[in-house]
Symmetry: C2
Subunit: 165 residues, 2 copies
């Protein structure tokens, strides 16, 4: 059976960090992530949306074990850039749907968001690619989110089979 979505994943080991009101000019993202990579900090998601008044926010996720080192590196960058502040959200679970068939399927992201909405789960952050759509939700909602997505994308019976093994 062809399924556009063939799996759901939940990752509760990450923390979201954002540097607010960085100047929206060339070289800024390079400095931030250059500093992190020089210090061997592995970054998972990086999200930057629209600018406002010539400034922007850049949010990213790292493993929670890297929180303290990330914050000290980032504080130095923040001072050098004159960015407003650094904010941390450690109440996040990264919920992802994965599939080869998602590209050019307008309804897949909408269905994911609907599944979460039906459980009254708030979506804190969104990033998409052709084979993966990820949403950040509160940690304690992760299990429900996964169940709702298994159900929405009809992955339940497969899971029942797997559980019996």
């Amino acid at each position: 059976i062809y399924r556009p979505v063939n799996g759901v994943a939940a990752d509760k080991s990450q923390v979201r960090i954002a540097i607010l009101k960085v100047p929206d000019q060339p070289g800024i993202a390079a400095r931030i992530f250059g500093a992190l990579s020089k210090n061997n900090i592995s970054v998972d998601m990086i999200i930057q949306s629209l600018e406002e008044d010539n400034a922007n926010n850049i949010a990213f996720t790292v493993d929670e074990t890297d929180l303290n080192s990330t914050l000290s590196i980032l504080e130095e960058v923040r001072m050098n850039l004159g960015a407003k502040e650094i904010v941390v959200d450690n109440d996040i679970a990264k919920i992802s749907i994965v599939g080869a068939g998602m590209i050019d399927r307008p309804g897949i992201a909408a269905s994911m968001f609907e599944a979460l909405a039906e459980q009254n789960i708030n979506i804190k952050m969104i990033a998409t690619s052709e084979i993966k759509i990820s949403c950040l939700v509160e940690k304690e909602r992760a299990h429900e989110a996964v169940r709702a997505l298994h159900s929405k994308f009809e992955l339940d019976d497969e899971n029942a089979e797997a559980d019996k093994v």
Copy 2:
């Protein structure tokens, strides 16, 4: 030779649309993208970063041929949600680096941002996944961006070979 990045892509056929100051509560993303998908609008990137004062912005890209229909659908949603406004940026090129080996490689995103910074190219938007990092830049910088990335990730000689064929 193992290369973490094996390709660079540029897409100049999209437009970025954002709906600003939507209420940050369950069901909002579902309504927006439900309305678009009901009308068969194919969405490529969806980006939502951190909330501010219980509201958020949601930005997404569609093919430029879908701009007008997207705007009329979105305006109706905007009114129903009481969202502040809709903004359009049609001066965008989506520049992506693709590779199987990018996961757990802290420096790849930083290198991409550095390549663009070295050409004084401003990064308008960022979204990442394990196999793809995408940045939106001004349309007229697309060609330079691709060249800079080919060079940074040493994909130049392969391209020279391909051109000779």
